[in-house]
């Protein structure tokens, strides 16, 4: 722990948090919120939680900022002024926040010190994972073996949460069946259409294949280094969103149809849950990958766990990519999958 570094990061995090709440311009608030995520990402890195930092950078600072921007462009850039009762609500809010903060601070007095090797979290279950990850699963990255195997059941449901998020956006914003041609143009006239600049288009064109290649590397190398299906999926989605921003939405939808997107989103979680169910059908417990050695050629039960993890990571990657693109398309185009942003 380098306290000077932490002090600066925490001070910046606080400034960004207060600024993003108090800014009247919602576009600036969204950008500052992205900066907040980036500062948090630095903090996770400093703590040694590189996988978390990776996710925070990709999701918090990356795609969620774009979602906010898309939402701001379609609603209003300014905070709606409230006429009465403002002070009262502010007071209640501040009092509640201070009270909860005070209680949490009081509780933290009992916590073990920063990075204490004798803290309960470091001596109870963690050593078991660290010692046994190689003999149990042949996966050197402990984070991956905990997320995809020891606690893989949680990750399956987390992937389902992502799926639900995409489906919820579609269910609320999406317009099916009665789409009329004449309702689109009026709204989009006001939205600035990016992508006229050939410089931006050319730059993005070059970047997209490298991003996708990197995404696949992040996915495939998750067993050995920080990364995995989640981060890989977000980077893949970011490459598609980049096409949508630099050209227009139609250019992206031409490459990834919305229908296929929904199929990918379902398919991804089905790969995950299906792998679990396959273990069940082979006579083992749900998600007990080791039994997969019976159907995988030349594989020991331990390597089967490693392969099983790769399978579910691929599933996660599918769902995350498809859902991120789906959310972007629906927010950016008001659910019409038309041109937007």
């Amino acid at each position: 722990m380098i306290w000077q570094f932490d002090f600066i990061i925490l001070a910046l995090a606080l400034i960004c948090a207060v600024a993003s709440i108090s800014l009247k311009d919602l576009l600036s608030a969204a950008i500052v919120f992205g900066a907040y995520s980036f500062v948090m990402c630095l903090l996770w890195t400093e703590m040694g939680a590189v996988d978390v930092a990776f996710t925070e950078a990709a999701v918090g600072a990356g795609v969620s900022t774009v979602f906010f921007l898309a939402a701001v462009l379609h609603t209003s850039r300014q905070v709606k002024p409230r006429r009465h009762g403002r002070f009262f609500y502010k007071f209640i809010g501040a009092a509640a926040a201070l009270a909860i903060g005070g209680v949490l601070l009081a509780a933290s007095a009992d916590f073990p010190t920063w990075g204490d090797p004798a803290s309960p979290a470091s001596i109870h279950v963690s050593p078991h994972y660290i010692i046994n990850t190689i003999p149990d699963t042949a996966v050197p990255n402990v984070v991956t073996s905990v997320l995809a195997d020891y606690r893989g059941f949680d990750t399956m449901f987390e992937t389902s949460v992502i799926f639900v998020a995409g489906l919820a956006v579609l269910a609320i914003l999406g317009r099916f069946g009665r789409r009329t041609r004449d309702e689109a143009p009026a709204e989009f006239a006001a939205v600035p259409v990016a992508g006229q600049s050939p410089i931006i288009q050319a730059a993005c064109r070059i970047m997209v294949p490298f991003m996708q290649l990197f995404a696949l590397y992040v996915l495939a190398h998750g067993h050995h280094s920080p990364g995995g299906g989640f981060q890989g999926g977000v980077i893949l989605a970011a490459s598609f969103i980049l096409i949508a921003i630099s050209y227009d939405l139609r250019a992206m939808i031409g490459r990834l149809r919305e229908r296929w997107n929904m199929v990918f989103a379902s398919l991804g979680v089905m790969i995950y849950a299906g792998t679990g169910a396959l273990c069940l059908l082979l006579g083992a417990n749900f998600l007990d990958y080791s039994v997969l050695h019976r159907i995988l050629p030349a594989t020991s039960p331990i390597m089967a766990r490693s392969h099983g993890m790769l399978a579910v990571e691929v599933g996660v990657c599918f769902t995350v990519m498809a859902v991120m693109v789906l959310i972007y398309v629906n927010i950016a185009s008001h659910g019409k999958s038309d041109k937007g942003l």
């Binding site: 949490l104 893989g152 639900v164 489906l167 609320i172 379902s266 069940l280 059908l281 417990n285």
Partner: protein, 496 residues
């Protein structure tokens, strides 16, 4: 092919996998989504019944997901308490799904695939929260049920969007509190497994961090169940939700949250810590009294039938929380029995409400005019549900209320006893007012004066579930003693 040892995980994973399939099937043919969801929920209910039978015969079942032993992996623990709640959740969800056919076709014909996918996933989330023995796994499933719930509510259009948005904010704060609480326990013990926490925590009972963790988890559960001062999100969200949504969430969300409270109190912290170390026993019972009285009074003030029912839910939550914190055998038995009974009663009332909305396109009290003549069978079934809410024997509602009153007397909590009696009185006034409107006030004449009112019953897909649930209420009442002796008596923590 699949051994009975695997049934516990099937309760959750069958609807999970089916939900994604339903989404894909919906792309091919929207009409197939409805039967597919019935199949999925039916299979889940069958597994839940099989597991409950095994628990009743042989006691608690442990299931290790991924074959990792706890506390390293995630464990499913099914004891007498959640075996019962699982059957209730799966059963109510199936009935709600059967009845949803017409209102889904009416409300969102183009979004049937999305609706049923979310519907089945919401049920998955509730079942998963109920079955798990892992404090963090519970949080993940809480996220699933919450997200699906918000979106199912928001599908109801403009006012539902506002109600749903408020619910997102408050519900997220509730879930955050729960997660923070779990985080505190993890920092102090290094474990997320409930049984392991129960072993590790007693050595740390004196620390402030565990106290704050307990308060945070409790507050999280209370926000989720709309316990009285924290109930603000519930009436709008449930009133403006589409009928098919409210039929599922109104009976289940608050009840599962009450179950979570009981599970966290007794399986993570232990009865000794909750009732002896924490100095809040009397305070919580008085909060419950406030919930019962407040909910009842607000219900009296409503002109909207569905909104009146939502305030009754707030009052019923007070019953269950108060019953648990009476801290005696009777009170906790009554609270657990009331989880079952209230889920079925609320289901009955909201099924009826769904029929009213389907037939009259509204849910205000004046929409009920003349319904006794138009829909005699529907009204008879509704009357059973109403009598059960009031607490008239032999309907189920009487028995849990009876246990709760006995518990209140035993604990000398006279305020709680008075609140229960007051609430029964208010329910009687409310429902007899509804009967009066539906029986005596004539329907608005559309086809000229003096025309005989033709019988115009609800469609069978809505009527049959309602009648079945009404009969179920009486059966539940008649068999409530065996329910207590087979399941609930083992669910009450020992040494109280």
């Amino acid at each position: 092919m699949i051994a009975p040892e695997q049934y516990p995980v099937l309760i959750v994973t069958v609807p999970l996998l089916s939900a994604f399939l339903i989404n894909l099937i919906g792309m091919v043919d929207k009409r197939l989504c409805y039967p597919a969801s019935l199949l999925a929920l039916g299979a889940s209910l069958a597994a839940a019944l099989a597991v409950a039978a095994r628990v009743a015969a042989t006691g608690t079942i442990h299931y290790h997901v991924g074959n990792w032993p706890p506390p390293f992996g995630i464990e499913y623990v099914i004891d007498h308490l959640n075996a019962l709640v699982l059957v209730v959740v799966a059963g109510v969800a199936l009935v709600a799904a059967i009845a949803s056919k017409r209102s889904v076709e009416q409300d969102f014909p183009d979004k049937r695939a999305q609706f049923y996918t979310l519907f089945v996933l919401l049920t998955t989330g509730l079942l998963g929260m109920t079955i798990t023995g892992d404090a963090f796994n519970l949080y993940v499933l809480m996220e699933i049920s919450a997200l699906t719930n918000y979106s199912l509510i928001a599908m109801g259009g403009n006012r539902a969007l506002v109600g749903g948005f408020n619910y997102i904010i408050i519900g997220t704060i509730g879930a955050c509190f729960y997660l923070l609480g779990v985080g505190h326990l993890y920092i102090m013990t290094g474990s997320l497994n409930m049984a392991d926490l129960l072993q590790l925590l007693p050595a740390l009972f004196h620390t402030k961090a565990v106290l704050v963790g307990a308060i945070l988890m409790l507050l999280g559960a209370w926000i989720k169940m709309a316990f009285f001062p924290l109930h603000g999100w519930l009436p709008n969200a449930y009133t403006y939700a589409p009928s098919a949504t409210s039929t599922l969430v109104a009976p289940l969300m608050t009840k599962v949250s009450v179950y979570i409270m009981i599970r966290v109190l007794f399986s993570v912290f232990g009865a000794y810590y909750v009732f002896t170390v924490l100095p809040v026993k009397g305070l919580v019972v008085w909060l419950a009294v406030a919930a019962i009285v407040g909910g009842s009074i607000f219900a009296l003030a409503q002109q909207d039938f569905k909104r009146m029912l939502t305030y009754l839910i707030v009052a019923e939550v007070g019953y269950m929380v108060g019953g648990v914190w009476l801290a005696n055998q009777w009170g906790i038995t009554g609270a657990i029995l009331h989880i079952v009974n209230d889920a079925v009663m609320t289901l009955c009332l909201f099924l009826f409400c769904g029929i009213v909305v389907h037939k009259t396109r509204g849910h205000r009290l004046e929409n009920l005019r003349g319904l006794f003549r138009r829909m005699p069978v529907t009204m008879a079934a509704f009357a059973v549900g109403a009598l059960s809410m009031i607490g008239v024997p032999p309907t189920a509602g009487f028995f849990s209320k009876w246990y709760l009153i006995l518990g209140g007397i035993d604990a000398h909590q006279w305020g709680f006893v008075a609140a229960l009696l007051f609430s029964s009185l208010v329910n009687a006034v409310l429902f007899f007012r509804v009967f009066e409107i539906a029986y005596f006030e004539p329907a608005e004449e559309v086809h000229g004066h003096g025309a005989a009112v033709a019988i115009d019953e609800a469609p069978l897909s809505m009527l049959l579930p309602l009648v079945a649930v009404a009969i179920g209420l009486i059966v539940l009442g008649l068999y409530s003693t065996s329910l207590v002796s087979t399941f609930i008596q083992y669910a009450v923590p020992a040494g109280i």
